[in-house]
């Protein structure tokens, strides 16, 4: 039905596409360590050694864990399997709250203590008006 050239061009395109997809996949796979924006507390626990390098830890702010002493704030990041204590002093984003997502950037002291130099808040995929939220909580 179609000419030989058309078929050849089709396979040419298909091959290029396949090659690029595979190449990209392999590159991303090997760079996984750097593609992730943050590590979870559980991943921190499995680290072989603690380097004095800036890293990010993310998870939920544990309920009732935030305490502020003078200008220093302490809280716990949890992924519901492991926990890590964070100390921080500085500006916090509006969405930073107990029971909500957070990403802390800074240095590990050991596998349980983290000095944050910057705090980012993560928000979840739920969007709703306050009344709906209140109604949901009543249930």
């Amino acid at each position: 039905m179609y000419g030989r050239k058309v078929k050849l061009r089709f396979f040419f395109i298909l091959l290029i596409l396949l090659t690029f997809v595979l190449t990209t996949f392999l590159i991303l796979k090997s760079l996984e360590e750097n593609v992730v924006f943050f590590k979870s507390p559980s991943e921190i626990k499995t680290l072989a050694e603690i380097q004095n390098k800036k890293i990010r830890v993310g998870g939920m702010v544990k309920k009732d864990s935030i305490s502020v002493v003078s200008k220093e704030m302490k809280f716990i990041i949890t992924d519901f399997k492991s926990e890590i204590s964070v100390t921080y002093s500085g500006v916090i984003p509006n969405l930073f709250e107990e029971g909500k997502g957070v990403v802390a950037e800074g240095y590990l002291k050991d596998k349980n203590f983290f000095f944050a130099t910057k705090i980012l808040a993560k928000h979840d995929e739920n969007y709703m008006p306050p009344e709906v939220k209140a109604a949901m909580e009543e249930k």
Binding site: F10, L17, T24, V36, F37, A121, D124, Y127, M128, V132
Partner: protein
């Protein structure tokens, strides 16, 4: 080629269309903005800053959609040697780039009050930046190559390279830990955006799609006029 692909036939339609599209765009945009900025409720957590979503998300969708369309048309155009498809792709690209930049800029504005940062090298932001670079590459390639056949080939290659990035943008939030939250809208399951917010979001998406169509028609008409002036070119 088919009769319908004759530049004159297409031009009689596309030269009249922009004014109707513009009128419709203004109406839809007015409804969309009223809904998004005034009528829709604030978010329980982000309060009014959620309104940035009604620009940010549609802009990102449209820029992804346009790049996919460009790739599809270029590939079909290349395989079957249909010149018209290349002209359509070429005319689609500028509005795609504009919406890509809008998505990046509004994302930055949204990120500051919510996340606490203007910019983060999170997988989705980075892959959106890469998409913008591909758009620029694509548009520059059209400028550089005067030789038609060469331009067709080079731009097709650029779209193939760029399309690999599109699923990465879509699934980056599922594959890796990112600062971006997972997708709120899923075809198969219930959306996690409340219906009162979903409505302005869809209206704004329609408005942006109409704007892209408008810019596309203007660009496409220019291309057709160029061909007409040369006289001998057929689509």
């Amino acid at each position: 080629m088919l009769k319908i692909f004759e530049p004159n036939k297409i031009f009689t339609v596309t030269s009249k269309a922009p004014k109707y599209v513009l009128a419709l765009f203004i109406v839809i945009l007015t409804i969309g903005l009223t809904e998004a900025l005034i009528l829709s409720p604030e978010d329980y957590k982000q309060s009014h800053s959620v309104r940035i979503m009604y620009v940010h998300v549609p802009a990102a969708w449209i820029s992804l959609g346009i790049f996919s369309a460009i790739t599809f048309l270029s590939l079909i155009g290349y395989i079957f040697k249909i010149q018209n498809f290349f002209l359509i792709s070429k005319s689609l690209a500028p509005s795609g780039l504009v919406f890509n930049i809008i998505a990046l800029v509004t994302g930055s504005i949204w990120g500051k009050p919510t996340w606490g940062t203007w910019w983060a090298w999170d997988a989705r932001i980075t892959s959106m930046l890469i998409l913008a670079l591909f758009y620029i590459l694509y548009l520059v390639a059209w400028r550089i190559y005067d030789n038609k056949d060469k331009a067709f080939k080079i731009t097709t290659i650029i779209t193939i390279l760029g399309i690999v990035n599109v699923p990465i943008i879509k699934y980056s939030v599922d594959w890796w830990n990112t600062l971006h939250q997972p997708a709120s809208i899923n075809i198969l399951s219930k959306s996690s955006i409340h219906i009162s917010m979903l409505f302005p979001l869809s209206i704004m998406t329609a408005a942006f799609a109409l704007f892209s169509l408008l810019i596309f028609l203007m660009k496409y008409n220019t291309e057709l006029i160029k061909i007409k002036n040369k006289g001998l070119d057929r689509l």
